[in-house]
Structures are given as C-alpha cells and as structure tokens.
C-alpha cells in the first residue's frame, strides 16, 4: 500500500491556499537511510495561530515537525530536501546557524525535560547563552515574564531556587514552555505535549496554547483528535508520509474531503 502508485495528491481547503504564511514548506522529502518517511509535502502555516498535525503513528507528522527547526539533523541517517522557509528565509541554507534557528523555533516534547537545575536556571539558561540579558535584574524580569506567560508564575514564585524536576508533570511541561518562550521565539513546535499529562494538566496546557497563539506561530503534533479539534485553527492530516488533507480545523472535523481523512478521524482505519 506504501507503493508510489497509491500516492494521491494533497487536498487543500480554500482557506489553506495562499494564506499569509509564517512557515512555507514546498516539496519537502525526508529520508531515513533508504526509507522515505515524508513525500513531497507542501503547505503554508499561518502566524499567530495553532496548526495541528494529526495522523496515525509513523505517518511522518513528527518528522515534518522536526524539519522546521532542523532537529532531524541530529539523526545521522536522516536527510531532508525541499524548501522550508520561515518569513521567506530558507532555513536549510548553509548561512543559517541551527543553534540560532532553534532559538527562533522553540520546541516542546512529549515528556517534560527540565534541566537538572533550579526552576530559575531552567528558564534563565537560554537568555544567558544567547546573551539576551545585560543585567541580573533584566534576567530576573525575563524569567518572571516567561513563567507568567506559561501560567506557572503563581505556583512557583516562592520557590524559584528549587529543582525544576521536583515539579509535577504538568508544571514541568509548563516550565519547559517557559524555557522555550524565554528566548523570544517566533515559532513553537510541540510534539505531543500533553500525552504524559492528566486531564487537568492537559486543560491548563491547552489554555496556555490558546493564549500563546496571540503572539506565536504554534505547530502541534497530537494523537488526540479531540485535542487537535480543541486547540487548533488549522489541521493537517498525514498518512504514510503524505500530507493528505489540509484545511481549517472545523472543516476537517465536520466535513473532510478525502476518504482517508474521514476514515481516520471517525475511527475507521484498518
């Protein structure tokens, strides 16, 4: 079924065509060794909104997500081709420093991964190495603002010197988001950020995502269709390395145009 003759072209809903794009992917292929994991993906991701990538395991959604901050480069056998632009700038060009790129494009993972440092130092780490603060007060300001934006300040303000990994799972995830925000990114990538959290912690992260959307371009990979429906404005459905369908979330969940999308979101796959 993975044969090339079965590949169908992507269906784009009207609202997914020619939108004011923060990120533009065109003809993106990703290979792991000989195996092609992503086939010629082209899409435009809007700024100041949440775009959800959905699809079954192994469909390439996380792989595509990781092309946006060149995280695939950390995997030896991974090879990416095609054009990926942020604000019209090619991010795969040799002139782009991947470390600086990853400050512009922050990432949050499935499992919260705070550094084995204090809460303060977790958030201050990025601004310090990028030299974003000129004084201690300025650094403290950045830490406070970031923790506030991540909705964590009130819970940790009196124990900033305690270790970050002593927090609950949901708090750790918000700490990691605060850490990503601290370096003033433009894009935040989230790879199943709630899959290790309970429903209350999940709701807090979703509320946070909704607030962050005002200032950032957010791309989220999720296995929970309900979560994609709740938090995103645009949804892209991937299957076997293809972008099958891309459109406004409401349309995708009420009236998908492709039968593969329909089958997946109604639970008829197999």
């Amino acid at each position: 079924m993975a044969d090339s003759e079965n590949r169908t072209s992507t269906v784009y809903h009207d609202a997914a065509k020619n939108l004011a794009a923060k990120i533009t992917l065109d003809g993106v292929d990703v290979f792991y060794g000989q195996k092609q994991a992503v086939h010629s993906v082209a899409m435009q991701i809007p700024d100041r909104s949440v775009t959800a990538f959905i699809g079954p395991s192994g469909c390439g959604k996380s792989t595509i997500l990781r092309t946006i901050n060149r995280m695939n480069e950390t995997i030896d056998i991974a090879r990416t081709s095609g054009s990926i632009q942020i604000d019209g700038e090619e991010i795969n060009s040799k002139a782009v420093d991947p470390v600086l790129l990853r400050a512009r494009v922050g990432m949050v993972f499935q499992k919260p991964n705070p550094f084995p440092k204090s809460i303060f130092d977790n958030v201050a780490y990025g601004p310090r190495i990028h030299g974003l603060a000129t004084s201690k007060t300025e650094l403290a300001d950045i830490v406070e603002t970031s923790l506030r934006k991540a909705g964590l300040w009130d819970e940790v303000a009196d124990r900033l010197d305690q270790p970050g990994n002593g927090l609950s799972g949901g708090q750790q995830q918000r700490l990691v988001i605060a850490r990503a925000i601290a370096v003033s990114p433009e894009v935040i990538l989230m790879d199943e950020p709630c899959s290790a959290l309970d429903p209350i912690a999940t709701a807090k992260i979703e509320e946070l995502i909704d607030e962050l959307r005002e200032n950032y371009c957010i791309v989220i990979v999720t296995h929970s269709m309900a979560q994609a429906a709740r938090v995103s404005q645009m949804t892209a459905f991937f299957h076997m390395g293809d972008l099958v369908e891309y459109g406004p979330t409401e349309d995708i969940f009420t009236n998908p145009h492709q039968s593969r999308t329909q089958d997946y979101i109604t639970g008829r796959f197999g």
Partner: protein, 233 residues
Amino acid sequence: MNTKPTSHTVRAYADELTALSDELARMGGLCERQVADCIAAVVRRDPALASAVVEGDHQVDAMETAIERRVIRILALRQPMASDLRASISAYRISGDLERVGDLAKNIAHRTHELNKSEPLDLTRSVERMGKLVVANLHRCLNAFSTGSADECLAVCNGDEEVDEHYNSLFRELLSFMIEDPTTITACAHLLFVAKNLERIGDHTTNIAEMIHYQLTGSEWRRELPHDPTSMA
C-alpha cells in the same frame, strides 16, 4: 461518500450508529403510515382508523425521545466526528421534524370525527390528491435517507412547490364553496385545516430532505423560493 457506518474500529460504536439509523428509518416509516392513514380516515370517513392514528402518535413521540437519548449518549460517550457527527446531529433534528409530522397527522385524524358530523363534500377528493402527493414526497424523502442519495433530497425539496400550489388552489376552492353555501362553512373550515396541515407536513419533509443532504454531503443546502405574498402556503 458513503455515510453508512462501516468497518468502524470500535464495533460497539458502529452498532450504536447503525441502531440510530435503523431507529430513525422505523420512525420515518411509522410517520409515513400515520399520514397516509389520517388522509384515508378523512376520505373514507372512518372513525376507527382516525382513532388508531391518534393512538399511534404516542408511539411516534416515544420514538423521538428514544432517538434523542441515543444521540445524546453517542455525543457524550463517543464524540463523533465528520460523517458520524453529521449523522448524529441530523438524526436529532430529523426526529424532531418527524415528531411534528406525527402531530399534524394526529390533528388531521381528529378532524375526521368533526367532518363526519356534516354531509360529505366533493372537495374531499382534492384533499385526497394533495394528501397523496404529500405522502409520496415523504416516501421519496425517506428513501433518499436509506439509499443515501443527495440528488433525491433535492428532488424532494423541489417537489414541495407542487404541494404548495395544490394548497393554494384548494384554499381558493374552499373559499368559493363557503361563499356559495354558508351551511358548508364548518366542514370547509375543517378541510382547510386539513389542507394546511398537509402543507406543513410538506414543509417538514423539505426540512428533513435538507438535513439528509447535509448528512450526506457536509454542505448545507436550503431551498430559496421567491416569496409570493399572495400565497397561502
């Protein structure tokens, strides 16, 4: 796109959707029979049949409640998406329209007893013709549901114009009848209500067809007719 629940990964979910669709089809069948019977009761001046229709309306109401409960259960426990979501929502709304169709049939049946107190009127035959048209359109609409034909839904909606025309001419006929012979006013007034109820059943049939169309295609479709201020429909 096929909207019949097939090969759902969770079989119990598929069973619930199938049961919903079956129950709606049964309710539709019952309402169709109620409408056909209430017209037959009026035309044949059959009080027993009229009483059976009135009695049968309880069953229609019970089915509406059962379908509503089923839909609420599916929404709460399954969070349906896409075609399943559309099927659930349209089942909820269609059952509401069918319940109204049942009420109107019951109302027509009630009038049989009143009409039987007066001499038979020739105009009853026009009501019968209009009734047959309304039943045929409802039948076609329910067929469109079971066969999943969006084109048939559009045909049903277009068919309602003929019902409205029937109603308008019947209205004029009844008026002139009443002017010519005021002793027929009571019977004519009842027939007028019968005709008006049939016209309303036609409108509900159109609503149902629109919802089936939405369920099948995902696109909303509403019949746009130029409003005729002289129309009684």
